[in-house]
Symmetry: C2
């Protein structure tokens, strides 16, 4: 791996290059056309696009409910047990995210408050082929269910040999209400606008390729979306107390996702840097997804050697990684130094794949520096808030002069008169 | 006003027509060009656009801090008092929105939790001219300050006679850290990418015209944004116990905002519908913003007469109005029937402008049906969450089999090996 030994200022510039986002106008135009067609021609457009893009002739988009139940028996007992185990931990973690409304009656004659209401229907996009991860279905559907969403529906591209039993079993275990075989931008359009077969949703979540991501961005406003997901990332902060083989294995566990995945180590030890770099090269040799991981490490991976632990944190907060491992002596003490990260793994035994699968926190996380302003997928993504007030006549009267002052300052005479009308 | 007497099914179709969103490809293209130019040429591009669009030659974008302080003395004592009053109520309401993280230590050897961190820098867009509302500055800046945001900066288009003292005074009272005179899509670009004069922010909030809204949508992903705001709306649910003159005045208080504003009354009384329609026509005559309000009422306003209170709520939840007034006998009892609304005004004395200015809940609210999936602007908009876990060796070992099972099912051998590496 490339090892940098630069000043903090210089390194901040260097890491910026690794997070540049690009847009592709050609893809934007073709996605816009797909959205418009599906909006207008609904199921007919979906069928045409599925034939064109997935070589699939679809009669019924909806997978029969019995097929989901059957899938539970098609997967191995060991896989079923692992999925059920993950489900329990995801539920016990995400229940802590449930929000309550509030009511304020401190001032006589005035009631103010906020209520929390679940969204009615949510759509989950699940990519096809090798990127169809059963674990992601649990991570996206369970928080929606905990929030109280009435209906969670899932779309996923049709597959030559049918949708994988592991995917359908995960949907069943997560309580997904309906699964539709349709993918790409056309699936996003169906979720946003609705078709004869697929009901429109209030929010679309889940990862997807560039067409799916572009379509999500274009329908944003019509429906809510989670963040537009970029390639996966891991950032590790480690000192000489860390085990180079373990760090290398964790870096590669992200690098194997995608050629554009980013594996980053920031350390204060040149010796550790060199050992990790060597261990990465060695471990790469026997990795089944060697080709992908090697490209990711070569093009997008780096090790930065800094002068101090505060510098290490300053640089990592600039990166704002999706996954952040802290492998320093006494890792937990640094929790307050972390400003920007999606999910944090403290200490030697919090290896990143533990969080991907089993620990319970969400693995749908902000990427590409968006951890500076966004959160892991959570129960809070599936509710919205409504404010309310009730005033007595006396309470309104006491505020009358200030309300009309502000209204008339803003040139909104009708606002002033509406309040005055109460006292005519 | 147009009075409908249709079935619920028919009315649901009719209200849909009132919420259709449109996109304008020409504006999208010109905004894209502005964004790219500002990203590349920074201040120089800003100066060119300000000359072109606002006929303003700008040397320094930043308004000197002394000018904000001076503005406090330029406004009337009555206005200053009203702004300070509004500030107190906004703070006392929004403090109830503050979120805590959590930590879970129920299982031996396992620590799981979530911490809440404020965004570092936030940008507030304030429109120019007659749409420059001091009240909106309080509503947007104060929740950010309560959340703990380090720096809140504001952009607003240059004005021929300088930015209005009321606007600068509100910025000062709200604790805005810096004000820059730049507007339109170019201001959004400056906030998203940063220039020599204007630092980049993590989130952009605040209303604006179609260029501002389009620019916000295009930079979404690079930074966070609040919802793309549409024209203002009021929905009123009333029965024969309500006062027609008061309802008419409240409907007009929204209609006067914008020709595209929507004023809607849903009732179970044809008699009330007719009286309100007549009162609207009468009150319109003497309204200073008569031309705007009349166009809004004629083109976008309506009264729907339904058969029952449950039908009234069913239709209103389909509309999902920005502002919802409930003027029924014993209004508060209906709180649980409200599914989709931004802000709710219960009973006769909760006139909508009370919420616009003084009650304390936010007036930056979801419009155009987006209350189905989004919330009023709040403290929660200016924080993000970071998960964390720490496991003991024994706790990780207990989960090893299920983690590797899931990793290998998903074809991610590197994930399995990273965890196994701990026990080599």
């Amino acid at each position: 791996m490339k090892i940098y030994q630069q000043s903090l200022t210089e390194m901040k510039k260097i890491v910026k290059r690794y997070t540049q986002q690009t847009t592709d106008l050609k893809i934007e135009t073709s996605v816009r056309e797909i959205l418009a067609n599906v909006r207008q021609k609904k199921d007919q457009a979906l069928r045409e696009y599925e034939l064109k893009f997935d070589q699939a002739k679809i009669q019924d988009f909806k997978i029969p409910a019995e097929q989901l139940t059957a899938a539970l028996n098609e997967i191995s007992p060991a896989l079923k047990q692992a999925l059920e185990h993950a489900k329990r931990n995801i539920i016990s973690f995400h229940q802590m995210e449930l929000e309550n409304g509030f009511i304020d009656t401190r001032v006589s004659g005035i009631i103010r408050g906020q209520k929390v209401t679940p969204l009615q229907r949510v759509g989950l996009y699940v990519p096809g082929g090798t990127a169809a991860y059963p674990s992601t279905i649990l991570m996206a559907a369970l928080p929606a269910k905990i929030a109280g969403v009435d209906q969670v529906i899932m779309v996923t591209p049709p597959q030559k040999n049918g949708i994988a039993p592991a995917v359908l079993a995960a949907a069943k275990i997560a309580g997904v209400d309906a699964v539709y075989q349709v993918g790409g931008a056309q699936a996003i359009a169906a979720l946003a606008y609705g078709t004869e077969s697929i009901p429109p949703v209030n929010k679309i979540v889940g990862p997807g390729n560039i067409f799916v991501a572009t379509a999500k961005k274009q329908v944003f406003g019509q429906v809510a979306i989670d963040m537009v997901a970029g390639p996966s990332e891991i950032g590790i902060l480690a000192d000489k107390t860390a085990d180079p083989q373990e760090l290398a294995a964790d870096l590669l566990s992200q690098a194997e996702h995608d050629k554009r995945a980013r594996a980053m180590l920031i350390t204060n030890s040149l010796e550790l840097a060199q050992k990790v770099s060597q261990a990465v090269d060695e471990q790469l040799q026997s990795l089944p997804r060697k080709e992908i991981a090697a490209a990711s490490v070569a093009d997008r991976g780096f090790i930065a050697v800094m002068n101090s632990i505060p510098e290490m944190f300053a640089l990592m907060n600039e990166v704002a990684p999706e996954h952040l491992e802290i492998q320093l002596a006494d890792s937990a003490q640094y929790l307050s130094l972390i400003r920007n990260a999606g999910s944090v793994f403290l200490g030697r035994y919090a290896s990143e794949p533990l969080g991907d699968y089993l620990a319970g926190p969400n693995h749908v996380l902000p990427t590409g520096g968006t951890a500076k302003f966004s959160s892991p997928l959570g129960v809070y993504d599936f509710v919205k808030k409504t404010q309310f007030i009730q005033f007595s006549s006396a309470a309104l009267k006491a505020d009358l002069a200030d309300i009309t002052q502000l209204a008339r300052t803003e040139g909104l005479e009708g606002h002033a008169r509406a309040v005055e009308q109460r006292f005519k």
